[in-house]
């Protein structure tokens, strides 16, 4: 009878309390959340400009003095050369032979090479988008003077001017100015038959000006754009990422964003290799390319220009082949930087910006965590 009661009791316990639900054996707290997919808005990043990214770094130093940033932020190369410079006092001595007559000063013919300053940047794939050339004079006298002569810019342009007045006290009177848009490098400039027409007795009227100089020179500035021969592919290694993604057992991540670009540069992300760390049998840790994880290749960010950004939708899929995305030690990016494709203003400006709007992530296949 006693055995029967025990048997019945055990039977009832078995019926009422299934032992496979015995929580005293522990509960596996591993959870895989969002098994279909979860989309997460992440951020609006930007606008980011080269100037902001470089921060306090001096561009000239950073780029070996090849070019610099002008006051408006454009990447430029500049050159300034003296064509003629002579102290007023010396000129006065020359006028003593005939002190009551105006003095004509003949200037030697001059040849300059403004485009030489562009050769450095051109050598690494930049091209002048806008070239500005100006011929200017400095007149420290209290009376006006005039200038005559001829200026030539290679075979592109030339101008003859006759008795162009330069006002008294002018510090930088522009005798000639030329802008060249989208043309080849201005390699040579020259002046011929340049004559300064000075008034009579100029030093007696202002003896102090004798310490100054009458000056003639040129200024050249080229604002740069990216050339078609810019080195295409730039390998960008990111070695210290160390993203511990393996524990989350993620199979696929889609990163999407709308890139708004006003930098006149076309960016193509040719390939992204995921680097992982492996330890060999001898305990040595090596960084290898993970073949099991693929990243969408061939993503293009179209070029824009100042004030007219171009929006490129971008979607990057990071997908594990057989397993899940492992711990990522680093990335090996191959980025192609190409000349702009648009017909607009292609000048590179340090204030041009790129924005990554509506950056969001969609994770498919779940995210595994070890308990909440």
């Amino acid at each position: 009878m006693k055995q029967l009661l025990i048997l019945i009791t055990l039977l009832l316990m078995w019926c009422c309390a299934p032992m496979d639900y015995d929580i005293s054996k522990g509960i596996d707290k591993e959870m895989t959340l969002f098994t279909d997919e979860v989309s997460i808005p992440i951020a609006d990043v930007g606008p980011l400009s080269p100037k902001q990214l470089l921060g306090e770094v001096d561009l000239g130093s950073a780029l070996g003095g090849l070019f610099k940033e002008d006051e408006d932020g454009y990447l430029v190369v500049e050159k300034e050369e003296t064509i003629y410079s002579n102290p007023v006092l010396l000129l006065y001595y020359a006028s003593l032979a005939n002190p009551l007559q105006p003095l004509d000063v003949n200037i030697d013919n001059f040849t300059g090479y403004p485009g030489a300053s562009v050769e450095g940047p051109a050598g690494i794939g930049f091209t002048p988008a806008l070239q500005e050339f100006s011929l200017y004079a400095v007149n420290p006298l209290t009376e006006g003077m005039t200038v005559s002569g001829k200026v030539s810019l290679s075979t592109l342009s030339s101008e003859v001017f006759d008795n162009v007045p330069v006002a008294a006290g002018s510090q930088s009177f522009e005798l000639f100015r030329k802008e060249l848009v989208g043309q080849s490098i201005l390699d040579v400039c020259s002046t011929e038959n340049m004559v300064l027409h000075l008034p009579s007795s100029f030093l007696e009227k202002d003896p102090l000006s004798g310490l100054s100089s009458i000056f003639l020179g040129y200024r050249y500035k080229a604002q740069l754009a990216l050339g078609t021969d810019f080195p295409e592919s730039i390998p960008i290694p990111i070695n210290d990422l160390d993203l511990p993604l393996g524990q989350y057992k993620v199979k696929e991540v889609l990163l999407s964003t709308d890139v708004s670009n006003e930098i006149p540069v076309t960016l193509v992300l040719d390939s992204v290799a995921v680097l992982v760390k492996e330890t060999d049998a001898e305990g040595n840790v090596k960084t290898l390319v993970c073949d099991d994880v693929s990243v969408t290749p061939g993503l293009t960010i179209a070029s824009g220009c100042s004030g007219a950004p171009v929006v490129s939708p971008l979607a990057i899929t990071i997908k594990a082949g057989e397993g899940t995305i492992p711990d990522i030690a680093g990335l090996q990016l191959n980025l192609s930087v190409k000349a702009p494709t648009g017909s607009g203003d292609n000048r590179l400006n340090m204030n041009q910006s790129i924005s990554f709007n509506n950056l969001r992530a969609t994770v498919s296949g779940g995210i595994t965590i070890q308990g909440l």
Binding site: I23, I27, T32, L33, D36, V38, S39, V45, R360
Partner: protein, 440 residues
């Protein structure tokens, strides 16, 4: 003959023990000749429309949660209800006294306390966690938590009308002790690739019987500071309720009993009242310019997002407010037929409906048999089905001298977690035990 019929019916009523319960049909007392003193009666009710097996799954020699990768979406979500509720109720009848009046009526006075608490969680919350955000928008407004404790002082009167009818009623003065109620009029979550949008309009009400929750400088309830001293005994609500009952005995051996119990409610004064209201849209971190792309600044922006969400979610203190809350309403019906060949054996059929102001209603229907040996013992067995699935019950009483010990146990099937007693399936579990002294 008339007296013998009444006596046999009274014996039937006493024998089933129904009259002895403070929650029974008040008309059941109408035929009692003597009085009674009840010294304590305890009842607990536990109702859950989902069980632990909806959340825990055996896997090998361990248990895993429904969120484990080995559990499919259908396997987990298919076992959940639209609103998953857990409800518990404890009733304690301190003392009752019943006596036969000078006329034909029967009077009762009862004093007791009751408490109930519960939680409702919408399926959508588990759906988001399990599958993700693709099925937006989500209505989470059925998320609710509540708890109430109140005292009850009741006067009952029942009266036989002829040979075939009895009617009865109780009037109850309800004294609110403490109440907590978190309820949402609107709790909507919309998730797209571009944004997460939260719309919330919810109340959090806590009575301040003892202490008042502080308010911070921004006007939010501050759960870390309290003011005031304990004021034990001061009610925080008051109300009325009534029980109405009818027993019909159209012929010998058959009775039909119907009652509506706890029709009424309490007007609570919630001295700690807060309202969470507003909308928040998250479209990612904004303005991540070069200056902001530093870890501490990004963390600062994330913190700001958290604060913005909290500004919507945290209850803002409002003036104390009065709210009327109905207490759980029970509607019962029972038919009983004593076998002509053996009056001690009867067959029963019963139905129960419980309506709550704070969670889904409960209903059930049962059939059963009873064995009555008046003055000695009673044993009843029943089974049926209801909102929580299959239910069965055992009730019984034993008379010894002038004392009667009675108990009622009801439960569902599906088993429990070993050593824990947590039901694995949807379940309605009731336990009632009481002791009554019969006055001659």
């Amino acid at each position: 003959m008339k007296k013998s019929v009444i006596l046999s019916l009274a014996a039937l009523a006493i024998g089933t023990g129904a009259w002895a319960q403070s929650i029974a049909n008040p008309a059941d007392n109408a035929l009692l000749e003597g009085g009674f003193v009840r010294i304590g009666e305890f009842q607990s009710i536990s109702r859950n429309n989902v069980g632990a097996a909806s959340f825990l799954f055996p896997s090998g020699d361990k248990l895993v949660t429904g969120l484990h990768s080995s559990i499919s979406n259908d396997e987990f979500l298919g076992g959940l209800e639209a609103v998953n509720s857990l409800y518990n109720q404890i009733d304690y009848n301190l003392v009752s006294y019943g006596w036969k009046g000078s006329s034909r009526g029967f009077h009762t006075i009862e004093v007791g306390v009751r408490a109930n608490y519960g939680l409702s969680v919408p399926k959508e919350i588990f759906q988001i966690l399990k599958t993700g955000t693709a099925r937006s928008p989500y209505d989470l407004s059925s998320l609710r938590a509540f708890g109430n404790a109140y005292g009850e002082i009741a006067y009952g009167y029942s009266l036989p009308i002829g040979d075939k009818f009895s009617i009865g009623g109780r009037v109850k003065l309800l004294v609110g002790l403490n109440s907590v109620d978190l309820t949402a009029r609107q709790f909507a979550l919309t998730t797209t690739e571009e944004q997460y949008k939260l719309d919330l309009d919810a109340d959090m009400d806590i009575t301040n019987r003892s202490k008042k929750i502080g308010v911070d400088d921004a006007g939010y309830l501050d759960y870390t500071s309290f003011s005031g001293k304990g004021k034990l005994g001061a009610p925080t609500g008051g109300g009325l309720a009534m029980d109405l009952g009818l027993v019909w005995r159209p012929f010998d051996g058959f009775s039909l009993s119907a009652s509506v119990l706890d029709l009424g409610g309490i007007l609570w004064y919630y001295g700690n009242a807060g309202t969470s209201s507003g909308s928040y849209t998250f479209e990612g971190l904004k303005d991540l310019t070069t200056e902001a792309l530093e870890q501490d600044k990004i963390m600062g922006k994330i913190k700001t997002v958290g604060e913005d969400v909290l500004a919507v979610v945290r209850p803002k203190a409002v003036d104390g407010r009065l709210k009327f809350k109905a207490i759980p309403l029970n509607a019962n019906m029972k038919a009983s037929y004593a076998m002509p060949f053996w009056k001690n054996l009867s067959i029963d059929a019963s139905g129960l409906y419980t309506g709550y102001s704070f969670c889904a209603p409960y209903w059930e229907a049962r059939g059963g048999v009873s064995l009555d040996f008046p003055g000695v013992a009673h044993l009843g067995l029943n089974a049926g089905s209801g909102a929580c699935g299959f239910v069965y019950g055992v009730c019984g009483s034993v008379d010894l001298l002038s004392f009667r010990l009675y108990a009622n146990f009801g439960n569902g099937t599906g088993g429990v977690i070993p050593y824990e007693g947590i039901p694995l399936k949807a379940n309605n579990k009731t336990l009632l035990i009481g002791l009554v002294y019969l006055l001659k």
